[in-house]
């Protein structure tokens, strides 16, 4: 029984994090990541 539960855990985690990922995409977070990653943040890399 315990082995069966342990076998299910990764798939429950996958479903949970897939759900979070889709919520994030739906909320427009992809464009926020793109915007952040395409700007050079000088203070972030220790300059300025």
């Amino acid at each position: 029984m315990k082995i069966q539960e342990k076998g299910k855990t990764p798939f429950l985690l996958i479903i949970f994090f897939l759900f979070l990922l889709l919520v994030g995409i739906n909320a427009g977070e992809v464009s926020t990541v793109l915007e952040t990653a395409t700007r050079i943040c000088l203070s972030c890399i220790g300059i300025g």
Binding site: P10, F11, L13, F17, A27, T38, I45
Partner: protein, 297 residues
């Protein structure tokens, strides 16, 4: 050998924007919408993806003003991405895909006296994750409610090496802006570079917040290591060869295991180490033991 090639390819793919010497700028294409599986600074002139830790800090740092402005951006896209990778393979991206992990392995090959890392230091990375990636960017804010990316700004040696120094070379006019912040980061980078010669993967083991996130999934991921106590001779060869100092025979899905499979393919002669994918066990008999038999050893 396969892992080494995958590390080379992953490092190249994460840093394949080779036009930066001509454009004088970082890559700004749509690939940067995607998070890289490893620690790779997105301000690196050659970077083609977004560093998940940098992106996560940015979400935390802008969460308050974002909520006030009606945006509900909690960083779920990044958390979802990392959670999915972790659920599938645990800390495997550290061992196979992370450019900074690869660099540490190469530097460790420099001949010198080698030192073990005390186990207690492996808990520091969780402190770094909680404090520098989540709490400080969220709670310490300016008058407008914006926080700063504490880990990137004060700690990340990958950022200094991949972005800080290259940007100074690419844009010499920035050299006038160098101050104590940069010298602090240079010191941290230098400290870790020296430590990388003396100890195996010191940054991964003690300070990497990305490794800390993946490590939480090691015991519950689809890909898991398995140990057969009946075949194990407790020779400790796996421990001696492990780049993360894991005692496999005591904890075969240890939070520090990066699933590099060095223990299975290059250490265990007894077939005691194998892995399973979704509960389906793969035998290690074709690994080191099989090769040794084939060689007549």
């Amino acid at each position: 050998m396969l892992r080494r090639w995958i590390q080379v390819i992953a490092t190249f793919l994460s840093n394949s924007y080779l036009l930066f010497p001509f454009t004088g700028n970082i890559y700004q294409g749509t690939l940067k919408s995607f998070c890289t599986p490893g620690l790779n600074c997105y301000s690196c002139p050659a970077a083609t993806g977004a560093c998940p830790i940098g992106a996560l800090q940015n979400f935390m740092a802008t969460l308050r003003p974002g909520l006030q402005a009606g945006y509900q951006h909690f960083g779920l896209y990044v958390i979802g991405t990392l959670g999915l990778l972790g659920s599938l393979a645990g800390r495997m991206p550290c061992g196979w895909l992370c450019p900074f992990g690869f660099l540490q392995e190469l530097i460790y090959k420099i001949p010198s006296r080698k030192f073990a890392i005390p186990r207690v230091l492996s808990y520091v990375k969780y402190l770094v994750l909680v404090l520098f990636v989540f709490l400080l960017p969220f709670f310490i804010t300016d008058e407008y409610g914006y926080g700063i990316t504490w880990f990137c700004k004060f700690i990340c040696p990958a950022g200094t090496l991949e972005a800080g120094i290259p940007m100074l070379l690419l844009k010499p006019e920035l050299q006038s802006l160098i101050g104590i912040l940069f010298y602090n980061k240079l010191f941290i980078m230098g400290f870790f570079l020296v430590w990388m010669v003396l100890s195996s993967r010191p940054f991964c083991r003690t300070a990497c917040p990305l490794g800390a996130i993946y490590s939480l999934f090691n015991k519950h991921s689809v890909f898991r290591m398995t140990h057969d106590p009946g075949k194990c001779a407790h020779c400790k060869t796996c421990h001696q060869n492990c780049p993360m100092g894991v005692k496999f025979y005591e904890s075969h899905n240890d939070t520090d295991c990066i699933r590099c499979l060095k223990c299975m393919n290059e250490s265990c002669k007894f077939g005691a180490i194998s892995y399973q994918i979704a509960g389906s066990k793969e035998s290690s008999d074709q690994g080191f033991k099989g090769k040794a038999v084939a060689r007549g050893q």
